[in-house]
């Protein structure tokens, strides 16, 4: 029997589901292997009977927690997709601001009606079986994770930094181009795509398991950033992970 698959979204931009919807031909082949029972991006139906749940977006409100727990209960495998779900993502930028301020900017004088708390990845609430990192996710990697799950193997998510892929791709290092990169502490798996395009790594896949943050900040400063700028480099995506460490 084909595994039943469902997609869910929380606080995020749904960019990742779009990536998946855009898979087109590959998606069709993939559909031969799985049965999609719920996917707001492309279908109206919804079912609570599923084996694999893909969850996008971060948890930003207490109410989200119950919904997540219900998903966990229904699914055999929960996969977090996209930075917001895997590491808290851009949403955790707001964790650095006073939460009341955030509520006021977002909801104006109705702010008291809306309860919001520090944005967090879904594994802060429920156990997660697999991760598809990235902002947005890489379609190839998404497929590779699905293949692994179907084969019953651990998805091959590296625990080494982006520099590894960047070196294999023979890029000129951002630092040598006078730019600043957090690749040395960011989990690889994207094939260093941003640096390949001539830019830098912003850290969208989150920190590796044991990043040497101090050394990385020192490097940023050595190459010319101010202390505050170096800290900001870490805020963009590492908000939740840093807080936890």
């Amino acid at each position: 029997m084909k595994p039943k698959v469902a997609f869910f979204d929380f606080a995020g931009c749904e960019g990742d589901q779009l990536q998946i919807a855009n898979l087109e031909e590959e998606l069709l082949t993939l559909l031969g292997q799985v049965e999609v029972v719920s996917f707001r991006e492309v279908m109206k139906e919804h079912s609570d009977n599923y084996d694999i749940a893909f969850v996008e977006g971060s948890c930003t409100r207490l109410q989200d927690e119950d919904r997540l727990k219900q998903i966990r209960k229904n699914a055999k495998i929960v996969v977090a997709i996209g930075s917001c779900a895997t590491i808290g993502g851009i949403n955790s930028l707001k964790n650095y601001q006073d939460l009341d301020e955030v509520r006021k900017t977002v909801y104006g004088d109705k702010a008291y009606l809306f309860d919001t708390y520090a944005a967090r990845p879904i594994d802060a609430i429920i156990p997660v079986d697999a991760y598809v990192h990235g902002c947005p996710i890489d379609r190839e990697e998404f497929l590779s994770v699905i293949k692994s799950l179907l084969l019953g193997k651990k998805p091959d998510i590296p625990n080494y930094p982006v520099c590894v892929e960047c070196k294999k791709n023979e890029n000129v290092c951002a630092f040598e181009r006078g730019q600043f990169c957090v690749g040395p502490v960011t989990r690889a798996g994207c094939n260093s795509c941003c640096v390949n395009e001539g830019t830098i790594c912003w850290g969208c896949r989150g920190l590796v398991d044991n990043p040497n943050e101090n050394s990385q900040k020192e490097v940023l400063i050595k190459y010319g950033l101010t202390v505050d700028e170096a800290i900001d480099k870490f805020k963009l995506y590492f908000g939740w992970q840093e807080r936890k460490r």
């Binding site: 292997q33 293949k147 651990k154 080494y160 930094p161 590894v164 294999k168 023979e170 040598e176 181009r177």
Partner: protein
């Protein structure tokens, strides 16, 4: 020596490019840096470069390479042969040529790597003497800045012309076929080339404060130096840049990639590096080089000592790529060795040059990365985590293993894992593997059934020397899954019972339900020619257990043995060894009577991928069976 004008040289390169049977590669600019790449026109060629980002090794040992393809319906096959187009690589600096010669030795030792050599043999190297030297380079000190071997042709820029040294017949023929107006060099040009080479020797900005011949000895005295490695590795990002850009690094990872149908796929190898956190980590979670300083130290030792002991050369050519790519600037060998040297000197230690070891590299045949197809013929669930698989090779042959050897077991699309052969070679037709479910391959294997296909490579490793043990008393000590490799020898001994003296088996596991081969072992208690003592760490209240309770070492005092005639054969989880060895030694057992079987992360099984290394030892090839007297001085071993 020959001379060719720059115009005629340009025509020569264009003629090479035009010949579509050749793949012409040269140094090109990439941003402000340089990289080897396919040439479309001679105008792209930048022979005045300082250093390329990656060395030319990427053409022989690519960042990513298919080893094997598989098809669920048909099995495994070697990847389809690449279009073995001869490659002409133009503009290789001498240090990179020396590095290729090092790689040749490494990839040829014991067994040759066919993927490497198929490309290497189809290549033509056109070198160029260094014109600009990167500020990180120290090739002159390593004796790798100027050379007169290892190339087909070697160019020297003499202003409006190149001098060409011919290094091989292939080179000579290339000139004849594609170049015009090649003249014999005049004495004046020969002199000029000599002068250029001497200039190269003075170009380096990085300088050792001592002669590099002492590097192996410097390292020998610095392994345990307190604080030294911690201090120097403090800023290490574990980014692997220093090893990924190195022309002599050869470590790799192997993984399977299925296509979407999940029926076809390929097994690829990709560059890996010992500085990366999980490099020596195994499925049970044990990491044999868990900290940045231990991994950082390993790189220096590998380059300066381990490979020197094995091959007789320091495996660094002084290109300086590691130094320039390390963002915190801690990977510069010159800086590190100078610091090491001064620290030793300040302590009043003398360091003499290391004697170059006499080495003769043995090699026989090719590595076979393609697994043989095999079928599961019996499956016995033994415990919640372990299952015994009886396997038959589809080609009907016997495995012909020695007790204590292992195989690389493949599950289609998932990967390979090293597994000890746990049946005795006296058992013909099939062999047995006792496998614990821990990660991807093993979990997937557990889901397979009788009749399903797996892949087998091997047998690998040295195995136990059953001959040498003849006539001796044998004390087997197994912890948990450690019984799996021991069982091959144990059963062999039982099948040749009269050749051996006393046979004692001490076997410990966590609790009764985790005991492996229970019935088989129980049957031993009925024999009077075997002494068997099991133990469990604890026994739940509602379970029955009549044996000993306590860790394995609590059994050792319960047996009498004559240390002069007894050999202990030990296998278990990593932490078990130290305790068992201490106890055996306190019972006066000589070191060389203790035989251990060790586990490490493995990817190739044939001494190439670097994962299983314990200091200078390859567990897959030199082990997994070791005599304690040989490894007690090896710091990473136990």
């Amino acid at each position: 020596m020959r001379i060719i004008s720059k115009e005629d040289f340009a025509d020569f390169v264009e003629a090479l490019i035009k010949d579509k049977s050749l793949n012409v590669i040269g140094v090109k600019s990439k941003g402000d840096k340089f990289a080897f790449g396919s040439l479309e026109s001679v105008t792209e060629l930048r022979l005045d470069y300082d250093v390329t980002i990656l060395p030319p090794k990427k053409y022989f040992f690519p960042q990513r390479e298919t080893l094997v393809t598989y098809d669920l319906a048909k099995g495994f096959a070697a990847k389809s042969p690449i279009e073995a187009k001869p490659m002409v690589i133009i503009g290789v600096h001498p240090y990179d040529i020396v590095a290729l010669l090092h790689m040749d030795e490494i990839f040829r030792e014991t067994k040759s790597d066919p993927y490497y050599f198929e490309k290497r043999q189809a290549s033509i190297i056109i070198g160029i003497n260094i014109q600009k030297m990167s500020k990180w380079c120290f090739a002159p000190a390593m004796g790798c800045a100027v050379i007169d071997y290892g190339y087909e042709l070697m160019l020297t820029d003499l202003g409006n012309r190149y001098a060409i040294n011919i290094g091989s017949q292939k080179g000579e023929q290339l000139l004849e076929k594609y170049a015009k107006n090649v003249k014999q060099a005049l004495a004046r040009d020969v002199q000029l080339v000599g002068q250029k080479k001497r200039e190269v020797m003075d170009m380096a900005q990085q300088k050792f404060d001592f002669s590099p011949e002492i590097i192996p000895e410097l390292l020998s005295k610095s392994y345990e130096k307190s604080g030294f490695w911690e201090k120097h590795a403090e800023k290490c990002l574990a980014c692997g840049s220093c090893v990924l850009v190195c022309p002599t690094c050869y470590c790799f990872d192997v993984k399977d990639q299925a296509d979407l149908s999940l029926e076809y796929g390929e097994r690829i190898r990709t560059w890996d590096g010992c500085l990366l956190e999980d490099f020596a980590k195994i499925a049970s979670g044990e990491n044999f080089r868990p900290t940045r300083p231990t991994r950082y130290r390993h790189r220096y030792f590998k380059k300066g000592k381990y490979l020197f002991d094995r091959f007789g050369f320091i495996s660094c050519v002084g290109c300086g790529r590691c130094s320039s790519n390390c963002l915190p600037d801690i990977a510069n060998p010159v800086k590190l060795f100078n610091a090491m040297y001064h620290e030793l000197r300040n302590r009043g230690e003398q360091v003499a040059p290391a004697a170059v070891p006499e080495v003769e590299i043995q090699t026989e045949g090719n590595i076979d990365y393609v697994p043989k197809l095999a079928t599961i013929v019996r499956k016995v669930v033994m415990t919640a985590k372990e299952t015994l698989f009886e396997i038959k090779l589809d080609d009907g042959t016997d495995l012909n293993h020695k007790p204590g050897q292992f195989v690389e077991l493949s599950v289609f699309g998932v990967g390979e894992a090293p597994i000890s052969i746990s049946s005795s070679p006296t058992k013909k037709g099939t062999f047995e593997l006792c496998v614990r479910k821990v990660g991807s391959v093993t979990t997937r294997l557990h889901a397979l059934n009788v009749g399903d296909k797996v892949g087998i490579r091997g047998p690998f490793g040295n195995g136990f020397d059953a001959e040498q043990l003849k006539g001796k008393d044998l004390l087997f000590i197994a912890g948990g899954l450690g019984i799996a490799p021991l069982r091959s020898l144990f059963n062999y001994v039982l099948d040749n019972r009269k050749d051996y003296g006393r046979v004692i088996l001490l076997y410990g596991c966590k609790e009764p339900r985790e005991m492996l081969f229970g019935e088989e072992l129980l049957a031993l208690t009925k024999r009077d020619d075997v002494e068997f003592k099991p133990t469990v760490d604890w026994c739940p209240e509602n379970e029955l257990w009549e044996g000993n309770i306590g860790v394995i070492t609590t059994l050792i005092p319960q047996v009498n043995f004559n240390p002069e005639t007894t050999y202990a054969i030990v296998c278990g989880p990593p932490i078990m060894y130290k305790f068992v060895i201490t106890d055996l030694k306190s019972r006066k057992m000589p070191d060389n009577h203790i035989i251990l079987s060790l586990e490490r992360r493995m990817k190739c099984g044939v001494g190439k991928c670097g994962h299983c290394q314990i200091n200078q030892i390859y567990v897959c090839k030199d082990g997994p069976v070791f005599n304690y007297s040989k490894i007690k001085g090896v710091p990473e071993a136990l």
